[in-house]
């Protein structure tokens, strides 16, 4: 059986019209947590519009105690919080290796090889524009450890931004957010 790559003709104008309102976007949250301490990492949802997160992926280092060897032990635990209203999305701090893929990555110090598997984990939530995604992380190692998380989702442009984009010939103009009109 021959598989057709496109089941129907693509209408570029219709596609661009959709992309002017919403498009796939990725937000990176990266931070370094000092030794034996906690740190609140955050990434801002800009005023372009709401961000509907669908999946998260991430990696982190496992630099251990003593001489700073990559011990492979999971030292980082974190709790995800929606900055709008401080709504907690985890019940507690969770070890990063339980929900981040590909997970442990090879650091530049001596140690065993990192993992090569990759499995994005689902995390469906709509973060409102102008809010922050907060990530409260504790590091139990006596060496600093780093982590990086990517939030994969859809940016849903506000009507005001879309109208300005059309009027300015495709150039996105950033303005202060206005309340959404409800139909």
């Amino acid at each position: 059986m021959v598989v057709k790559p496109f089941s129907q003709r693509i209408n570029p104008e219709a596609v661009f019209d959709i992309q002017n309102h919403q498009y796939s976007e990725k937000l990176l949250l990266a931070d370094t947590v000092p030794a034996n301490s906690t740190k609140l990492g955050k990434v801002n949802i800009s005023n372009l519009g709401h961000f509907f997160c669908q999946f998260i992926t991430g990696s982190f280092t496992t630099i251990g105690t003593g001489a700073g060897v990559d011990s492979g032990i999971s030292y980082l635990s974190g709790q995800m919080i929606d900055g709008a209203g401080q709504r907690k999305l985890f019940n507690d701090r969770i070890p990063l290796d339980l929900f981040l893929s590909p997970g442990r990555r090879k650091s530049n110090v001596a140690g065993a090889a990192a993992s090569g598997l990759f499995f994005p984990i689902e995390f469906e939530y709509c973060f409102t524009m102008n809010s922050d995604i907060l990530f409260d992380v504790v590091n139990t190692s006596d060496q600093p450890n780093e982590y990086e998380i990517v939030f994969h989702g859809i940016r849903i442009m506000s009507d005001m931004i879309v109208n300005n984009t059309v009027q300015s010939g495709g150039r996105i103009v950033r303005q202060a957010a206005q309340p959404q009109r409800r139909g």
């Binding site: 959709i18 309102h21 919403q22 709401h50 509907f52 982190f60 496992t62 492979g72 032990i73 999971s74 030292y75 995800m80 929606d82 709504r87 999305l89 985890f90 019940n91 507690d92 701090r93 969770i94 070890p95 990063l96 290796d97 339980l98 929900f99 981040l100 893929s101 590909p102 997970g103 442990r104 993992s115 090569g116 598997l117 499995f119 984990i121 689902e122 995390f123 469906e124 939530y125 709509c126 409102t128 139990t140 859809i154 849903i156 506000s158 009507d159 959404q180 409800r182 139909g183």
Partner: protein, 164 residues
């Protein structure tokens, strides 16, 4: 295409990951978590992680199994306790533990979809059984799921979220 009007209904639910570390000192241990009032909990996946080898290479192979008990429905939705590795990941694959209880970081993998809805105030009860001959076994359990507000309760205004 998602519209802003739909977003309000999407934001009603929220992801809620539930994590606990359990120590298996006896032949049995339990994971208990009571759902908050006002929310159903849609359990999507269960992730398990536990060591079967300590840092010195000694193998104690606990061969852990679990069974869930649905408190509100008063039933066990399985015939016998099930091995962890056949439901979630990473199980004991590549996991070692040192004397202070630090487990190695292992890659998270897929897990079987559960799609079980727990009513509010229900208690998620996971009963773990296994043989542990040498070292107390630390078991990390993470539930991946969503809180769904029960919109006809007074705490949500009792009118499906509407004020009037």
């Amino acid at each position: 295409m998602q519209f802003v009007e739909k977003l309000d209904s999407i934001r009603e639910s929220q992801p809620y990951y539930i994590y606990k570390r359990i120590e298996l000192n006896t032949p049995t241990a339990r994971f208990l978590h009571t759902i908050d009032y006002g929310f159903w909990y849609l359990l999507r996946k269960i992730y398990f992680k536990y060591p079967s080898v300590d840092i010195t290479g000694a193998i104690f192979g606990p061969n852990l199994r679990f069974e869930t008990y649905q408190t509100a429905a008063n039933k066990f939705p399985q015939n016998v306790p099930i091995p962890f590795e056949l439901v979630g990941s990473p199980g004991s694959t590549g996991v070692t533990i040192d004397a202070t209880g630090n487990m190695t970081a292992t890659p998270v993998m897929n897990a079987k979809l559960q799609n079980v809805v727990h009513p509010y105030r229900d208690t998620i009860d996971i009963r773990i059984t296994g043989q542990n001959l040498t070292t107390p076994t630390q078991i990390d359990i993470m539930l991946l799921g969503y809180y769904l507000p029960v919109k006809d309760l007074n705490m949500w205004s009792g009118k499906n979220g509407r004020k009037n």
